[in-house]
Structure formats: C-alpha cells, structure tokens
C-alpha cells in the first residue's frame, strides 16, 4: 500500500464539489489503454471477487438478519460473472478495479492536474465495473442526477468504451451497479454488526436498494 501525502481532494460531505469530470475523463483514458502495450501481463480485475468477499463477510457477521436476507436475494439474482463464479464477459480492457473519489488527487498539490491513484487492483476485465460505484450512488439517490450526468458525459466525451456512446447506458451498467450496491450494503451491515451499532443513513439506503433489486423477482438458485 502506498501513502499519498496530498490529502483529500474535496470534502466527502460535498459531493457536488467532487471532481466528477476529472474522474470520468481519467477513467476513460485508462480504459482506452491497450493491454498489449503495457510492460507486463495484467491479472484479471478483482472487482467481482471483492463483491463476493463482502457477501462472505456479511454471512459471517450478520447471518439470519432481515438486512442479510435482502442482500443475499439481490446477490443471488446477479449474473454468475458478477458474483465471481464465472469468467468476466470481456478481459480486453484495462480497469482500475477499485474506483472511488478517494482515488483522485491533485499533483502537484494543490492546483495540479487530477491523477488517478492507488492502482493496486489494476487488471483486465469488464470496464463497466469501474463506473458501477458512481452508477450505484446515483441509482440509490446518494448522488444527484447533475453529478452523475457530469461524470458520465465526461467519460463519454473522452471515448470511454464501457457504455454505448449515447442514449441509455444502463444495459451495460445494470449488473455491475447492482453488484456494487450489494457489496456496499454487505460491507455496511457487516461493519455495523461488528461494531454493535445501527445502520447509518447511507448503509440503510444501500439495503433499501437491495430490497428493490430483490423485488425485481429474480429467483434464488444455487
């Protein structure tokens, strides 16, 4: 793990100030790298494995709770690749693998260009996974439509290949965004259970979203 001494770019409580354009633009540039042009072979991106680990952690920390039941149902309806039970549909794109706003810093501080950091999870895989966290925040109402649209527009303007260039991006985003919603909900419930506390508002919003995903009526199968 590398230490990044530049501090956080914006206050976590002011998402409207977050560098949404920079995030979309940098992500698109990363996704347009050719894996063959990189110095060494890349591993497969670990996003689905991390989601599966969050569910396993939930099962260990809070089994038999209503929240866990809701999350499990949402998880069970995901395609196998999103649960890390089958290979990803594509492995031709370089992905960040752990995209969130804390991965953007200005260098040199405080006014230099934005950089995408913390590429410990870099790997080839399904690029929509890198857009799925912001997509899940938008879908769950944690981030407004304006912020989401800024991010998506910047990604598309920079030629990002994860979603179609125009129109409804959700055919590509839906499965990864559901997976990230499940992962966030599972992590939140597991943390709350371990600390013996109630869910906070954001964690509750994530479980509520899982309940809506569960109600889409996907059967639970092995």
């Amino acid at each position: 793990m590398t230490l990044w001494p530049y501090g956080r770019p914006v206050s976590p409580d002011r998402p409207e100030d977050a560098p949404w354009e920079a995030a979309g633009h940098l992500l698109a540039r990363l996704h347009r790298l050719r894996p063959a042009g990189l110095p060494g072979p890349l591993p497969v991106m670990r996003g689905p494995a991390k989601a599966a680990r969050a569910v396993a952690r939930l099962l260990a920390a809070a089994p038999g709770t209503p929240a866990a039941a809701v999350i499990l149902r949402a998880w069970a309806g995901l395609p196998a690749w999103a649960r890390d039970e089958a290979p990803m549909p594509r492995t031709d794109i370089v992905c960040h693998g752990d995209m969130h706003l804390g991965q953007l810093v200005r260098y040199p501080a405080p006014d230099g260009p934005w950089l995408l950091i913390d590429v410990d999870d870099l790997g080839v895989g399904e690029p929509a996974w890198d857009l799925a966290r912001p997509a899940a925040w938008y879908a769950t109402g944690l981030v407004g439509e304006a912020e989401w649209s800024r991010f998506l527009a910047a990604y598309r303007a920079a030629g990002g290949p994860a979603v179609r260039p125009g129109g409804d991006p959700w055919p590509e985003l839906d499965a990864p965004a559901r997976a990230l919603t499940v992962q966030s909900a599972a992590t939140g419930v597991a943390k709350a259970a371990a600390a013996g506390r109630e869910l906070d508002g954001a964690e509750e919003a994530m479980v509520d979203a899982c309940a809506r995903i569960a109600r889409l009526g996907v059967p639970v199968v092995g």
């Binding site: 099962l59 260990a60 809701v70 109402g141 944690l142 508002g201 979203a209």
Partner: protein, 93 residues
Amino acid sequence: MQCPKCHAPMHTYNRSGVQIEQCSGCRGIFLDYGELEALTRLESQWTQAAPPPAAPQAYPAAPAPAWGAPHQGHHGHHGHGHRRGFGHLLFSS
C-alpha cells in the same frame, strides 16, 4: 458437504435460524426450500420496517435502472436530495 457445482467444501452458516451454505471454491450460495422460505420471511421484515415509498415524482432526465430510489429527482434537490453523512461511501472501497 461438497459443492454440487465444483465439489469444493461448503461452509455452513447457521446462527439465527437461516442456514446458508457457501462454497469455498466457486463462492456459490446454495439454499434449500426451507431456507428460501425463511429468507423470504426475513426479507419481508426489512421491507415492512422500511419507510413508505415517496410520492411519485417527475422522471429524471437521465435514465435510471428499475430498482433506482424513488426519490431521486432533478439535480438531486428533490425529495431527500443528498443524504447527509454518506460521503464516506464515495471515498472508500
């Protein structure tokens, strides 16, 4: 017990009535019918405890998935708007 799919050992979790088996190999989750029923009962507890859905609002201009939050509105200022104190989610894994 072995995973019916990949034959790796299964881990069983059973602490509050619901028994869930997760495969240590492919990480598949396997439920039998009784477990499914228990899961459904628990699920409805969460749903009943949740606040009633907000009144229908205008569709946002940007497309959203079918499972999106009902209160998401234009520019994030309808309904609840931005939820306070969620920022930690945006900045962490």
